[in-house]
């Protein structure tokens, strides 16, 4: 939980929003290669992966046959025919990919423990990263990735992040992590920033304020039900397309934001029930304090058709909340 009066957490949030902060952030990485790699990626992800040239990256979703999101990832086209998939569920992605790659020339390998990653996030992040790699990064577009070096060590720089601010991800060999960490810390401090300490700030609070959800928030949801319809390319085949077309026309649920009235959220765990006039209408994915908006906020998956401004209650003690947009600031 995060509380309004937590000074460290507030400073962490302010650093990301107003300056630049760094933190170590690891997720699973799966490397996908082979001459049919693009074809298989195009089948398991909803976006048109052929439109992602080498050096570019793409946020997209993976669905099951029922059209429900089972993972959301960033596919990074590292070099011609070589892709990295950034996911929190690498060991589950590989068998899923293999299931849909029968007879294809494609191989998938978990490289999580080969590559470490440091996130540099905030409005001054370009200044910090330029100092880190010794060359300007202004020309790098968002969702692009390129090789660089830090003190002679090869790294990849990815202009992206999970904060809603300008930001970069620095991928380095795991064995060189300590050296890169020290260099990142120095570069960020040189740009007027600092290390971010509070996990829940950079995993939950900061992303939620900008409408960024985690995979578990999308449970049982289709992209068209949670504001991710823009990732879907209907001009191609993909797993879950048939169901997606049905849901697109008649969504069952919607992902919304909740603003809570009370000072804290002790009785609201993850996946708590949401009630409208005492009738369960959905689940609150998580509630947390947002230091930029200075409110307790949350995501909820509720019945389609309930408009913004609707008053609901959440959890066993009837915590009152208002339905709002899931992008809080």
């Amino acid at each position: 939980m995060l509380f309004r009066e937590d000074k460290t957490a507030r400073l962490d949030a302010e650093t990301i929003r107003k300056s630049v902060g760094w933190y170590r952030w690891t997720h699973d990485l799966v490397e996908i290669t082979g001459k049919d790699a693009l074809e298989v990626l195009d089948l398991i992800y909803v976006s048109d992966m052929s439109k992602v040239p080498a050096g570019k990256t793409k946020y997209t979703c993976m669905l099951d046959e029922a059209g429900e999101i089972i993972d959301d990832v960033i596919v990074m086209h590292m070099s011609e025919g070589t892709y990295w998939v950034s996911t929190l569920y690498g060991p589950r992605l590989i068998p899923w990919l293999e299931k849909h790659a029968e007879g294809k020339d494609v191989s998938a390998k978990l490289i999580t423990y080969d590559w470490d990653m440091y996130a540099v996030q905030g409005p001054d992040s370009a200044k910090a990263v330029a100092a880190l790699i010794g060359e300007p990064v202004d020309g790098m577009k968002r969702f692009s990735v390129r090789p660089a070096s830090v003190n002679g060590e090869p790294v990849y720089v990815h202009r992206s992040g999970f904060t809603g601010e300008d930001g970069f991800e620095i991928y380095c060999a795991f064995g060189k992590s300590a050296e890169i960490k020290a260099a990142v810390a120095a570069a960020v401090e040189g740009a007027g920033g600092r290390e971010i300490y509070t996990l829940e700030v950079y995993v939950r609070s900061i992303p939620m304020e900008k409408g960024f959800a985690l995979k578990q928030d999308y449970k049982h949801m289709n992209p068209y039900e949670c504001g991710l319809g823009w990732t879907v390319c209907l001009d191609k085949e993909f797993v879950g397309k048939e169901a997606t077309l049905e849901i697109k026309d008649a969504p069952r649920y919607q992902m919304v934001g909740l603003e809570f009235d009370w000072e804290s959220t002790e009785d609201i765990s993850i996946w708590e029930k949401v009630y409208l006039y005492g009738v369960e209408v959905g689940r609150c994915c998580q509630a947390i304090y947002g230091y930029t908006v200075d409110k307790n906020i949350g995501f909820a998956n509720i019945r389609a058709g309930i408009p913004e401004g609707t008053r609901v209650t959440v959890g066993p003690n009837g915590s009152p909340a208002t339905v709002v947009s899931k992008t809080f600031c």
């Binding site: 569920y89 996990l199 995993v203 996946w271 066993p316």
Partner: protein, 406 residues
């Protein structure tokens, strides 16, 4: 339009046809294991009058056994990364550190219907607060014992092998009558704290706590409230999985671990078993001493009015209910007004968790159910368990004269 179908929900049927929901059974199994634990701790208090000595002894064994589940000392060093990798998608998981031990503690709590919340989860400090605990009847020795198990969790997650970097304090405990249970882990180097001995884990933390007010407290764990436990960083456990986990592991940590130490407190095995059976027999007699307790059971199981007060099936149906709640498979062999025979695979009854058979459960329940027979039905009735060394054993509720009743 008429309803075309009835809704469905998981439940089991009592001997008399009443349906017990999964949620109710799950609640009951937690409390039942706690009740056996409470009886066992009375045995401990008889054999070891010193609170300090008995608490230290159970702490030692519980810590050792909790470490042992992770494997050899070498395997223990890799335990967090290897075993928890699938379940916990925490960005920092690649960097082992004691504070990650707080995550395993949180899931175990919620699975066992210890309802609460993680107040703080940072590299320097972890604070966990509980509003309820089914084991709150046992006593403070058990609260202390759980700190030794947390210590193992934090040891297994530590960055320097298998010795944690935190001061770990259960500064409040439901088992001591506090409003909350609260465990706080604070990094020793950050807070300037010394390494602790077993009996030093119930001190106050350095930083102030966050005390959830009564109106925001919860009465049931996530599995009961929401049908699943979800940990902040992704891991999910369904009510079914949590229930099954408790039915196996609840016995292991809260009964088997302390049992190993308590047996050693007795002068010998015979004396241990003599006292053990007496304590459980007394607990059984007291279960139904009041008429309203019998009436409550009849209502709960749906016993029809034509079953009179001296019918052994009252106890038989209670035992069946208890086996169902505990997820122990059984077959009915006889079910008449003169006798109830329930056939159970001996291994199913004793080895709830396959790796850790608990033979004492046969003695405990035979003594307790025999005691219960005297008050739930009448002194004409007894419960005996026959064939405990065979593949199948028989739990029998029969009329039997017993001139040396316990």
């Amino acid at each position: 339009m008429l309803k075309e179908k009835l809704g469905t929900t998981k439940c089991f049927r009592t001997a008399w046809g009443k349906l017990i929901t999964e949620e109710e059974a799950y609640t009951q199994v937690n409390r039942q294991i706690a009740a056996v634990c409470a009886n066992l701790f009375q045995v401990m208090r008889i054999f070891e009058p010193s609170w300090e000595k008995r608490t230290e002894a159970i702490c030692d064994i519980a810590n050792m056994m909790n470490m042992a589940v992770a494997g050899t000392p070498e395997e223990q060093k890799a335990y967090v990364n290897m075993s928890l990798y699938e379940a916990f998608n925490i960005p920092e998981l690649c960097e082992k550190s004691s504070w990650l031990g707080g995550i395993t503690g949180d899931s175990g709590d919620e699975w066992e219907n210890m309802a609460g919340r993680v107040i703080q989860f940072t590299r320097d400090r972890v604070e966990k607060e509980l509003d309820t605990c089914p084991w709150d009847i046992v006593g403070s020795e058990l609260c202390n014992m759980t700190t030794s198990m947390f210590t193992a969790n934090f040891d297994l997650a530590s960055s320097n092998g298998t010795e944690n970097e935190v001061a770990l304090n259960m500064c409040q405990a439901r088992g001591c009558g506090n409003k909350h249970c609260r465990v706080v882990a604070e990094r020793r180097d950050k807070y300037g704290l010394p390494k602790q001995e077993w009996l030093e884990h119930m001190q106050q933390p350095v930083d102030p706590i966050h005390d959830t007010p009564r109106e925001r407290m919860v009465k049931a764990g996530q599995a009961l409230r929401n049908g699943q436990y979800t940990q902040a960083f992704g891991e999910e456990t369904s009510l079914e999985e949590a229930y099954h986990w408790v039915s196996q592991m609840g016995w292991v940590w809260s009964v088997q671990f302390p049992m190993m130490a308590i047996r050693d407190m007795a002068p010998d095995d015979d004396e241990f078993m003599r006292v053990f059976r007496i304590v459980f027999a007394t607990a059984g007699k007291n279960q139904f001493i009041e008429p309203f307790a019998k009436e409550g059971l009849r209502q709960h199981l749906g016993v029809p009015h034509w079953v009179d007060d001296n019918d052994g099936r009252l106890l038989g149906s209670y035992i069946m209910y208890m086996l169902d709640v505990q997820q122990v498979p059984y077959e009915m062999e006889r079910w008449t007004e003169d006798e109830t025979w329930i056939r159970v695979k001996s291994e199913d009854f004793t080895a709830r968790y396959e790796m850790a058979p608990l033979d004492e459960l046969v003695d405990a329940y035979e003594a307790q159910w025999n005691g219960a027979a005297k008050t739930l039905v009448s002194p004409e009735w007894s419960c005996v368990i026959e064939g405990r060394d065979d593949e199948d054993m028989y739990i029998k509720v029969i009329r039997r004269e017993d001139p040396r009743m316990l």
